[in-house]
């Protein structure tokens, strides 16, 4: 079935970055988006984990797509994802223990991140290996970039620093609220509003 209509690789890759950006356009994976973006470093770590899990699960799902029974497929997706999340979690614990502690339960929560199940269902279970991998990289990068933008805004406004380097003028008073849940919700709301304006201008 994949041979009949293989999507072009270029558009598949760029779709995840803007046109079908998982966070900004599809509103998927909101929990980690809001939870780990108080600073840039955890946000990038989170993005890296999601890219890893997304690529691995898309590969496996794509390889076993012809064996799946319809009523069992969601369960199989979830189990595949849970396996790779366990691997990612153990790697984080072994090599960057401080990041692992900072992210806490949000790493295992990648299991229930809608982005990954959505890509398994919408792309990997219908397409061949190459398309699935390209799609995973595109979507993962789109997710990571969105997280980085949100985290940069919040980190700069809440501490005046970015990755431990001061970037704001010396008289800057940090906005403590930006580091709290309030800042996460309102910043993401405003970014979504901005994206709405940009897409309207473009069309």
């Amino acid at each position: 079935m994949s041979q009949t209509a293989t999507p072009a690789l270029g558009p598949t890759f760029t779709a995840g970055l803007w046109k079908e950006n998982p966070v900004l356009r599809l509103l998927l994976g909101m929990c980690p988006t809001l939870a780990v973006t108080a600073a840039l470093k955890p946000a990038i770590t989170m993005g890296g984990c999601v890219i890893f899990v997304l690529i691995c699960s898309n590969i496996v799902v794509s390889l076993m797509r012809n064996l799946l029974k319809p009523h069992l497929r969601i369960l199989m997706f979830t189990l595949t994802i849970a396996t790779f999340v366990t691997i990612a979690d153990l790697i984080l614990k072994a090599f960057v223990p401080d990041m692992s502690a900072a992210l806490g339960p949000y790493v295992p929560l990648i299991i229930v991140n809608c982005i990954i199940i959505c890509r398994a269902e919408a792309c990997a279970s219908k397409n061949g290996l190459v398309v699935s991998v390209v799609d995973a990289i595109g979507m993962g990068l789109g997710f990571t970039l969105t997280l980085s933008v949100l985290a940069s805004i919040r980190e700069i406004l809440s501490t005046g620093k970015l990755l431990e380097v001061s970037v704001m003028p010396s008289g800057f008073v940090p906005w403590a609220a930006m580091g709290m849940p309030v800042g996460a919700f309102i910043t993401l709301g405003l970014i979504l509003g901005l994206v709405n304006i940009i897409t309207k201008k473009a069309s």
């Binding site: 509103l27 998927l28 909101m30 929990c31 809001l34 939870a35 969601i74 369960l75 979830t78 189990l79 849970a82 396996t83 999340v85 366990t86 979690d89 153990l90 806490g104 339960p105 295992p108 929560l109 299991i111 229930v112 991140n113 809608c114 199940i117 609220a177 709290m180 849940p181 309030v182 800042g183 996460a184 919700f185 309102i186 993401l188 709301g189 405003l190 979504l192 509003g193 901005l194 709405n196 304006i197 309207k200």
Partner: protein, 196 residues
């Protein structure tokens, strides 16, 4: 008396102070998706409360009686997600058999409870906070469900009124909902000093 005190404090703290939706960002998807009408929101809250109670207790027991004695904690996440998927399946069958109209109105959102972060999140938090008694785990699970129901119902109430307001065009839909949720978390921050 002492245990009762701990349980009560635990319950209040998970409902108000550590509310999963508003301070831990768990379960945001249904929070944004289903919170359009109060009755739907309440039904969803009840279903989630049931699943979270069941899976909270079951995962605690599996973790303490199976995984820890046999040093199998690597399997934790896989076991947790299987328990949750099973519990959701149970609720789905029950609702379909006894409340067909409710089943119709839930549609896709009922099976999606499996991927509700609030449920897996709570199981992980119970594990992380090193809760050592079954009763405490059960109280926390029920509290998490009540907190979720409360948050989603408040949100639905606000959104019903939001329909009558003239919101700037670019902010309609998800953006204004997120901003409203932000203001709501600010209100909930007021509870944070309640228990030391």
């Amino acid at each position: 008396m002492d245990t009762l005190n701990t349980l009560l404090l635990g319950f209040i703290s998970i409902v108000l102070i550590n509310n999963l939706v508003l301070t831990k960002f768990l379960g945001i998807c249904p929070f944004l998706g289903v919170s359009g009408r109060i009755d739907m929101a309440f039904g969803m809250g009840m279903a989630v409360t049931f699943v979270v109670t069941l899976s909270g207790i079951l995962t605690w027991m599996i973790d303490h009686f199976l995984l820890k004695p046999y040093d199998l904690q690597v399997m934790q996440y896989v076991c947790f997600i299987l328990v949750i998927a099973g519990a959701v399946q149970l609720v789905e069958m029950y609702v379909r058999k006894f409340f067909p109209p409710l089943y119709e109105s839930f549609g896709i959102f009922l099976p999606l409870i499996t991927t509700n972060c609030a449920i897996l999140g709570l199981c992980l938090f119970i594990n992380l906070w090193e809760i050592n008694s079954l009763i405490e785990a059960a109280v926390l699970s029920i509290g998490a469900g009540v907190g979720f129901t409360m948050a989603i119902c408040i949100m639905a109430g606000i959104r019903e009124n939001l329909n009558l307001v003239d919101v700037p065009k670019c902010l309609r839909g998800a953006p204004i909902t997120l901003i409203t949720a932000g203001l709501l978390t600010m209100a909930f921050m007021g509870f944070s000093g309640m228990i030391k």
